[in-house]
């Protein structure tokens, strides 16, 4: 066994904060995790004193929009990955709705190249390839070519596939390649273009609303297809109780579906769109307190497997318009862990679920590097100060996207270090 070259002393695991631990790593891999002070520190090892910090496996975000190539004024791969590191993410999956769309190897390769040049120590970038050519929903993208270039999933996110026959064929073809499909569930005929829930707020403000059933109908289609074909589907950014109920039933019947939700659906409701606040305009829209409760329960019981940010940066002038004109999306990489940690601190989410949904399940589902603190695992971990407070300001965010309804809020919990394969990416 090799000698430890990195030792983290005195941090605590989120699930057992009363029992501090020491972490030993060598050459970017985990050697051991032991009760604090029970094993000597080898000479020459780099020692990180981490008393009072939480030690978490690095977070994996399976759903971000990095806007490069094509919309670099909103975000670049460089700024996006900096934001990811600040948020505690070691693996980042970026969606294909760039301009041009990531539907060919050369685009994927360019993305990976930019990531390697700007962030050689990580976070690691894993592009998501387009499911259909140009995301147009008419013909399949060259899925094998995309896999060979480094794509870890396929998705039409941003422009969901309405044609169920085409979607079925895409699922079949992708499953041959062993790569999962991520679906943005939205019936495009039900309230096209809405960025607010159909409910009390939309009725009062005079805005076109998106009904929860517009999401659930497509969730149901996907669950039935997954079960019928026996192929996996990952359901992106689930926002409603109605969808949760469908997924729970489908999973009970053995449908190979997995699902994600985002922090903003857990902490905000449609009321955040009051006063036509375009920072809260997101698709799917923020819904009701009942939806929020259902999502939290679904995370706890495993109906929803994964947390993801759906980080969608936009320039401020793009959001500074009347509500109808504003683009959908919330910049979320840097606030994600703080706000979900607050849910843990308030007892609305268990620490075990937090670790599972941010760190373990996303890496499992998409076959990405995963640290379970066992010997040989990649030394991907973060040190999180759970009591430090910070205020969300434009300057505090490394992302170019300052579009968050949390702007100005004080949050609890700061990522002090983000190690990717034994090296701090912060």
């Amino acid at each position: 066994m090799s000698q430890a070259d990195l030792v983290v002393r005195g941090a605590a695991l989120a699930e057992s904060p009363q029992a501090p631990v020491d972490l030993f790593a060598a050459k970017g891999r985990i050697l051991a995790l032991v009760p604090a002070g029970t094993r000597p520190v080898p000479e020459g090892a780099k020692v990180v004193e981490a008393e009072g910090m939480l030690l978490l496996p690095g977070l994996t975000d399976v759903h971000v929009h990095l806007r490069e190539p094509g919309q670099e004024w909103k975000e670049t791969i460089a700024t996006g990955l900096s934001a990811a590191a600040k948020g505690g993410f070691v693996n980042v999956m970026c969606m294909a709705n760039t301009d041009p769309v990531n539907d060919q190897a050369s685009i994927t390769e360019t993305m990976l190249d930019k990531a390697a040049k700007s962030h050689p120590r990580g976070p690691r970038l894993f592009p998501v390839g387009a499911l259909t050519l140009g995301l147009e929903g008419k013909s399949l993208a060259p899925l094998e070519e995309l896999r060979a270039a480094g794509c870890k999933a396929y998705s039409n996110d941003g422009r969901p596939v309405a044609d169920s026959e085409l979607f079925r064929r895409a699922l079949e073809y992708a499953s041959d390649l062993g790569i999962p499909v991520i679906d943005h569930c939205e019936d495009p005929y039900l309230a096209p273009g809405a960025g607010v829930n159909e409910g009390e707020v939309s009725a009062r403000l005079g805005l076109r609303g998106a009904p929860a059933c517009g999401e659930a109908i497509q969730v149901a289609r996907d669950c039935l297809l997954a079960q019928y074909l026996g192929v996996p589907i990952h359901l992106a950014h689930i926002s409603s109780k109605m969808s949760v109920d469908v997924i729970r039933e489908a999973k009970a019947k053995g449908a190979p579906v997995t699902a994600e939700t985002c922090p903003h659906y857990l902490i905000l409701t449609e009321e955040a769109c009051e006063d036509y606040d375009t920072a809260a305009k997101v698709n799917p829209p923020l819904r009701t307190r009942a939806d929020q409760q259902a999502l939290l329960a679904a995370l706890e019981d495993g109906t929803i497997d994964v947390l993801a940010t759906d980080h969608a940066p936009h320039a401020s002038h793009e959001k500074e318009t009347p509500f109808d004109e504003a683009p959908n999306g919330i910049s979320g990489l840097e606030t994600a862990l703080s706000v979900t940690w607050e849910l843990v601190a308030r007892g609305e989410l268990s620490a075990r679920t937090l670790v599972s949904a941010w760190c373990v399940r996303p890496a499992e589902i998409f076959a990405l590097p995963l640290n379970r603190f066992q010997e040989g695992d990649p030394a991907d971990f973060i040190l999180f100060d759970p009591s430090a407070r910070w205020t969300v300001t434009p300057k505090a965010l490394a992302s170019k996207g300052k579009n968050t309804p949390l702007m100005g809020r004080e949050l609890t919990g700061v990522v002090r270090a983000a190690y990717v394969a034994g090296k701090n990416a912060l």
């Binding site: 009390e200 939309s202 005079g206 805005l207 036509y276 009347p322 509500f323 109808d324």
Partner: protein, 310 residues
């Protein structure tokens, strides 16, 4: 008295006392409008921009007349044919308007919340002349004034709002204002033209007009847009008018001396039978006259607000 509000974006901003004060002021301007010379120097030297990003001849003319009778200088800015607003963001239009230093802006826009958007960015008074499906406060105030003229007060009266509620800023503002002033409100429309969450408004909703009209003191008809049929919300106009056209026979089921209103422009035979539109029960032309009275009152209150405070 001092007027507490910088802008009029929605009737929800007004207290009952505010609304009654506006109606009282409108009454005094009604007197001016019946004189042979209908001009007073109250707003001499003030400039009012009529910014209509969505065309509306009636509302714009009404504000124009109101402004001119108060001796204000009125300027029009329309979306069509104006390079100022073509392809330009609303924010840049606002900055341009600000640079012209107007005392007030009357704004019509096809997007809900647009009036609030500009009001937050301008120092001068902003009067919402209709934004998207959201609010049309001056219409609601003129409707209330028209009814008050007939009844003395709307308190205790029942008003039925009939037609396309979902897409109607007139309905949203009237539901709130009429109830604020003590009236009871009912709605009648096919489900496709009602907001899904209409139950949160806590007003009775009817799908049968014959039932809805029973015992009401006034029926407020809304304009039907042809595109609702094209969007699949209705079978066709003929079918719509079979179910929802206000007729003399249907009005006979209402309370004695019941009245009908319509914000105009009317589609004769669609929302309201032609003979009823011209009948003594119809307040349609009274609404137009009241519009000038109420808008004079509003321009007066909002544009002299600061001077009154001092």
């Amino acid at each position: 008295m001092t007027w507490p509000h910088k802008d009029l974006l929605d009737v929800t901003q007004l207290s009952k006392a505010d609304a009654l004060e506006i109606l009282r002021a409108a009454k005094s301007f009604q007197e001016i409008n019946s004189r042979p010379v209908k001009k007073v120097p109250i707003l001499k030297g003030k400039s009012v921009v009529l910014f209509f990003a969505e065309p509306s001849t009636r509302t714009k003319t009404s504000f124009d007349v109101a402004g001119k009778r108060l001796s204000a200088d009125t300027f029009s800015l329309q979306k069509s044919g104006s390079s100022l607003v073509k392809g330009e963001s609303l924010k840049d239009t606002v900055l341009t308007l600000q640079a012209m230093k107007p005392d007030g802006i009357v704004m019509r826009h096809n997007m809900s919340g647009a009036a609030q958007f500009i009001a937050e960015r301008l120092d001068c008074a902003v009067i919402n002349a209709g934004d998207g499906w959201h609010a049309h406060p001056t219409q609601a105030l003129l409707d209330a004034f028209t009814l008050t003229e007939r009844w003395g007060s709307v308190e205790g009266k029942t008003v039925l709002i009939l037609g396309d509620i979902t897409h109607s800023r007139v309905a949203r503002s009237n539901v709130h204002l009429l109830r604020l002033l003590g009236a009871k409100v009912r709605l009648c429309a096919p489900k496709t033209l009602l907001p899904h969450a209409v139950s949160t408004w806590n007003v009775p909703v009817y799908s049968e007009l014959d039932e809805a009209v029973r015992g009401v003191d006034a029926v407020m008809c809304l304009r039907l847009q042809l595109e609702r049929q094209q969007a699949g919300l209705l079978p066709d106009v003929r079918e719509y008018s079979r179910r929802f056209c206000m007729t003399t026979a249907r009005l006979a089921k209402a309370a004695r001396n019941a009245l009908v209103l319509h914000p105009g422009p009317i589609n004769r035979g669609w929302e309201i039978a032609s003979d009823l539109a011209d009948a003594p029960e119809s307040l349609i032309l009274d609404q137009v006259s009241s519009g000038v009275d109420v808008r004079m009152a509003l321009l007066h209150l909002y544009l002299t607000r600061k001077e009154r405070k001092e």
